[in-house]
Structures are given as C-alpha cells and as structure tokens.
C-alpha cells in the first residue's frame, strides 16, 4: 500500500522518516527479501539503494547500507538511527542531490497475509525433511516475521525447540547463529537445512 509520502531529496527523506509508520520502515528493510531478485543487490535496504542509484550519493548509501536491523530492539530505535545518519549527511552537504520526479522514494507499507499450509509435524526430527520443501514465504514468516511476533525476538523454530528443554540446545545455538540479514530467503532455507542436517545426522 502507498502511504502517500514521497521524498525527492535527503531532506524530504529525513522529514518523512521522523513520522512514517513503523510498518513502512519494516517493509523497506525486509520487504526486499520477498520481491523478485535477478542479482545480488549491493544494498540490502531500500533507503540505501535509493540513495546510491537515484541520488548517486554513495557515502550515505554505504552508511545506510551497513545498518543491521536485527541489532535494534524496536523499529523506533531503527528509525532513530536512520534519522541520525541522514541528518549527519545533510550537515555535510552544501547542495542536495534531487531525484527525478518518477524516481522519488515512495514510502510503502504492506499487509502480511498468514495462510495455513495444512502441514504439521510432531517431532523436531521432522524439520529435516520439511524445511527444504518450505516455500520462501513460509521461511519469511517463521524465521523473520516471527521476530516481530515473539517478545524475545526469536524465530519460530528456536521457540518450538526450546519447549524440549536442553535436548536440542546445540541445534538452537546453530539456528540462532544464522544471520537473517544480507542474504536471500533461499539462502536462509539452505542454512537452516544445513544446521538441521548437522544436528540430526550427527545424533542419528
């Protein structure tokens, strides 16, 4: 959905960042994972990508691009970091680059629709066969979106395995060690599969 908010320069971007709804910030950091990709993007959030490819300001693009959203406890903290970095760059510049009219930064939000796949498993061992078959949308829901739903910001796999006490602690550590940022959903699925394989093959 369009928010109706658009920016043509860093000043406009900063002004909207101050007030834009949290969901828009979330979308511009994580939504790219669900969009079709033909190549490995240089920048993994939309703000950095726009600064680089439309404003041609590589300096701010690099500073924005290095932000890891998983390191911020709340989206408001992430918003604050964005505003700080853009403000800092505005202070450095005498003249601001402008985006062409049809390449403005459009602040977007999205609806998440949660479906049931009608697939359930009863034991953690079954993850080994089901994870490689999961759709990318399902990976997003259980591994990334889950962090917004859980108070302790963990993924669904980890939370479920914790129900078994210390029995799967190695596997939990392995899954929690997977960096969900700077990658693709298919790569995340592969990494998850690898952790599951390591654990269940060794303990067979």
């Amino acid at each position: 959905m369009a928010t109706g908010k658009r920016a043509r320069s860093l000043v406009g971007l900063r002004d909207h960042l101050e007030t834009i709804e949290q969901e828009s910030i979330y979308y511009h950091f994580w939504g790219g994972l669900l969009r079709p990709q033909f190549e490995d993007y240089e920048y993994h959030n939309d703000f950095a990508s726009w600064a680089a490819h439309t404003l041609n300001d590589r300096t701010i693009a690099e500073r924005l691009g290095i932000i890891d959203p998983t390191k911020f406890g709340t989206l408001d903290q992430l918003r604050q970091e964005l505003v700080e970095l853009v403000d800092e760059r505005i202070d450095e510049l005498e003249v601001f680059p402008w985006a062409p009219r049809d390449k403005q930064f459009d602040f977007i939000v999205s609806d998440i629709v949660v479906f049931t796949t009608k697939k359930t498993i009863g034991e953690p061992e079954a993850l080994l066969s089901i994870v490689p078959e999961m759709s990318l949308g399902s990976i997003f829901y259980h591994f990334i979106d889950a962090r917004r739903r859980a108070p302790e910001s963990t993924d669904d796999f980890t939370r479920w395995l914790m129900n078994y006490g210390k029995r799967y602690q190695d596997l939990i550590d392995g899954i929690m060690g997977i960096d969900p940022y700077l990658t693709s959903l298919s790569a995340l699925r592969d990494e998850l599969t690898e952790e599951l394989s390591k654990h269940f093959m060794v303990n067979k």
Binding site: G4, P36, F38, R101, V109, D111, V113, V114, K118
Partner: protein, 413 residues
C-alpha cells in the same frame, strides 16, 4: 479438477490455488460489482472477462456492469485519459457537462445493482462520478486507476479528485502512479490469464497459418508490437527504430498489430498516421484486428523474434507481460509499468528513444543466446508475479481489509 480456478494448478502449483481458497472463504456470500466503460478492447476489459468468473468460482457473487455514453462523453474521457498521463488538455465545458450527465443517466440504470453491493470497483475515470449519484450506498467503493498517473495534468486531476476522494479506497498499478488521497491506497499491478486464448500454447501449424495469412516470412527476423493505435504507444517511433535497424539487417520485418477500443475515439486517426509512416514498405505489416483476434495475436507474439512495446506513457503494458509469457525478450519504453517488467539485461531492455530501441534490436538479433536466456527468465518472472492468480490474491486481500477493517496482518490460520 471440477473448478475453473483449479485449472491453474499445473501452472502455478497447488499452494497458490489453496491460498486463494483460504482467502475467499471469509468473503463467501458477498456481492461485488465491477463497473467500467467497455466490454471489449484494452487490458481492463480483458482482465474483467476472466476475473469475474473466477471470483464467482471462489464463491463471491461478482457482476460486471458497463456504462454507455455519447461521442461527447468518450471525447471527454479520452481527454481525461491523456491528461492523467500528463498531456495538457483544455477540455471544453460542454464535454464536462456530457461527462457528468452521462454518469447521472448511467447511475439511474445501475442504481439497483450498485446501491446494496458489498463492494463496488469503479475502473478508471469514466464511471468515477457514479459514487455521487448512488446516495446512501451500503458497501465499500473502490476506485481502480489503470492509467499512468505519475504526472497528471493538475486541473483535470483536481476535477477528478473531487469524485475519487469520496471512495473508501483506491488502487493504482505502481507506487509511482499513486496520488495522495484521503483513504487507503493499494498498489496492485494487473495480470494476464495464462489460460486465455491469447496466452495458451499454440501448435506450430496454427502460428504458421497466421504468418501466411499476413504474408509474413517465418524464416526472417520479426519485431512485433501489439497495442491499440494510440500516440502514447509510439507506433511511429517503432517504425523509426525498425528503419534504423533495417539498414544493418535488411531481412527485418515489423508487425504493428492493434484493435480499436469502443471508448477510444482517436484510434482511427492514429492508425492513418501509422499507415502513412509505413508507406509502401512491404515488410511493415500494420494490422487492425477485430477484438476477438486473441489466437492471431498469440500467434504473432509466438512468432516474434523480439517483442517491442515502445510506449512513452504506459499504465502497465500487458502486451509486455504476454510477450514475456511466450519466452520472448522485450524492448520496452522506459516508462510506467514496463519498468516493473522489463529488467535491463535480464528480461529485456528499457529504451528512451527510437535510436535506443534500434541499438537493442541489433544487439538481440546478433546475440541469440542472450535473447533466449532473457525469454526463459521473463516467463518465470511472469509466472511468479503477473498471472491472474496473483492479481486475484491481492484483490481478495484488499477486500478482506476493507470488509473486516484489518490492518497490516490478516491471519487465516
């Protein structure tokens, strides 16, 4: 497979279809009405022809109404269309009056259908004022803009906005087209139907017969642009690009194929200009095809070496989608929805001038492997993003949001 919607399973996979059933379940029993200005010609009518039965198939009672007007009404709405795409149109007061009068008249005849519909979709500016005339309507009204409204001519948009702002939501094809409005603005690109006659796989013999009918040589390279004859589609620019390329590749052929739409009074004029520009070049085939020539269009696209859509303004460009579905590389104008589909060096090339198009045509005709690879990528890109199943999914999601007032998360578990 008993249901129409289930026939898409071999193309999309079962999960996509199962998701549609889950989304439709809470909406069963609703009555939805779509209103536009033409039953035939153009992408909107094509989408509705397929979407209406599929929505009914999913258990949502869906109807389609068409408004009718006199030549003044269509002149006015054509000027609106051009103005929404940025042309500075000075519309005479007489035409505004015809527009308003036509909508009031149509409101009278449609009142029974629209008054208590649960959701009403009004497509494009032609029927936009209906909302003012159906007083105390019960359902949610959505304005669906299919036009490239990136830079509308302000006085015309200011006039239309008075009507559009009365709606409960609006839908644009791209974020760049979305205008600030006092209601939720959804971004939903249109789609093609892979089971439509225009997109189903054809036997080689059928393609050959169509080429033979139009005296097109199947052994020589062929450029195909399928579009209604409209200046924004830049058919003259395509002829210029063809001529520049032909100096280097004398065997090149060009097809400009289009039909008329009943709500487009400029078509004949532009067609005459195109014929004049083609002059006596026997390798330029300007084809005016009847509205139901879906299989012929399909055959021409299948026979194309490269699909061209050199528009200078484009709402979305479903002919690009169709070409990509047939595994063809596409050279498209760097505008509107074409940008969403033609990914430079992956599914084709975006161009800004006839010279740019000529350059890319030459490149693709010399690099067959690259052209083939682009075709493969393009088809998969369409499968993931621009089939009618995705379109229906997003409409259903929007309808759920509107009816149940959900925000940001719809949980169907």
């Amino acid at each position: 497979m008993s249901r129409q919607i289930d026939q898409y399973t071999p193309i999309t996979g079962p999960d996509v279809i199962e998701q549609l059933h889950q989304l439709a379940k809470p909406l069963k029993g609703l009555r939805v009405v779509h209103v536009n200005a033409t039953k035939h010609g153009g992408g909107v009518a094509e989408i509705l022809h397929k979407m209406i039965p599929l929505m009914n198939d999913l258990g949502i009672e869906t109807e389609w109404e068409v408004i009718h007007g006199n030549p003044d009404f269509y002149s006015c709405t054509k000027m609106f269309h051009n103005a929404m795409q940025g042309s500075q149109m000075q519309i005479p007061e007489r035409l505004f009056k015809a527009y308003e009068h036509t909508n009031r008249e149509n409101a009278e005849s449609l009142k029974k259908s629209l008054y208590d519909a649960d959701i009403v979709f009004i497509h494009d500016p032609q029927p936009a004022p209906l909302i003012s005339s159906i007083e105390d309507h019960k359902g949610k009204w959505v304005w669906r803009c299919h036009i490239d409204a990136n830079k509308p001519f302000r006085p015309v948009w200011k006039y239309l906005r008075n009507y559009v702002s009365q709606y409960d939501a609006s839908v644009f094809s791209l974020s760049a087209f979305a205008q600030p409005l006092p209601h939720p603005v959804y971004l939903i690109p249109p789609s093609i139907d892979p089971l439509n006659e225009k997109n189903v796989p054809l036997a080689r013999s059928e393609c050959m017969a169509v080429l033979d009918e139009f005296n097109i040589d199947p052994e020589r390279p062929l450029l195909v642009q399928v579009s209604r004859f409209d200046r924004f589609k830049d058919p003259i620019g395509v002829i210029q690009a063809y001529r520049q390329t032909k100096q280097f590749i004398p065997t090149l052929q060009l097809v400009l194929a289009g039909g008329g739409a009943s709500d487009d009074p400029e078509g004949e004029l532009v067609l005459a200009e195109v014929k004049a520009a083609a002059a006596d070049d026997v390798d330029i085939h300007v084809l005016q095809l009847p509205d139901d020539s879906h299989r012929k269009i399909n055959a021409l696209q299948c026979a194309a070496t490269i699909i061209i859509q050199k528009s200078i303004r484009e709402g979305f460009g479903l002919t690009v989608t169709e070409g990509m579905w047939k595994q063809k590389p596409v050279i498209g104008g760097n505008t509107g929805g074409i940008r969403l589909q033609v990914i430079n060096h992956h599914t084709g090339f975006l161009v800004n001038s006839p010279a740019g198009a000529a350059l890319r045509i030459r490149y693709l005709l010399r690099n067959h492997d690259k052209a083939f690879e682009m075709g493969i990528k393009g088809k998969e890109y369409v499968r993931e993003n621009f089939l009618i199943t995705r379109h229906i999914r997003e409409y259903l999601t929007m309808m759920l949001s509107l009816i149940y007032g959900t925000k940001h998360r719809i949980d169907l578990k």
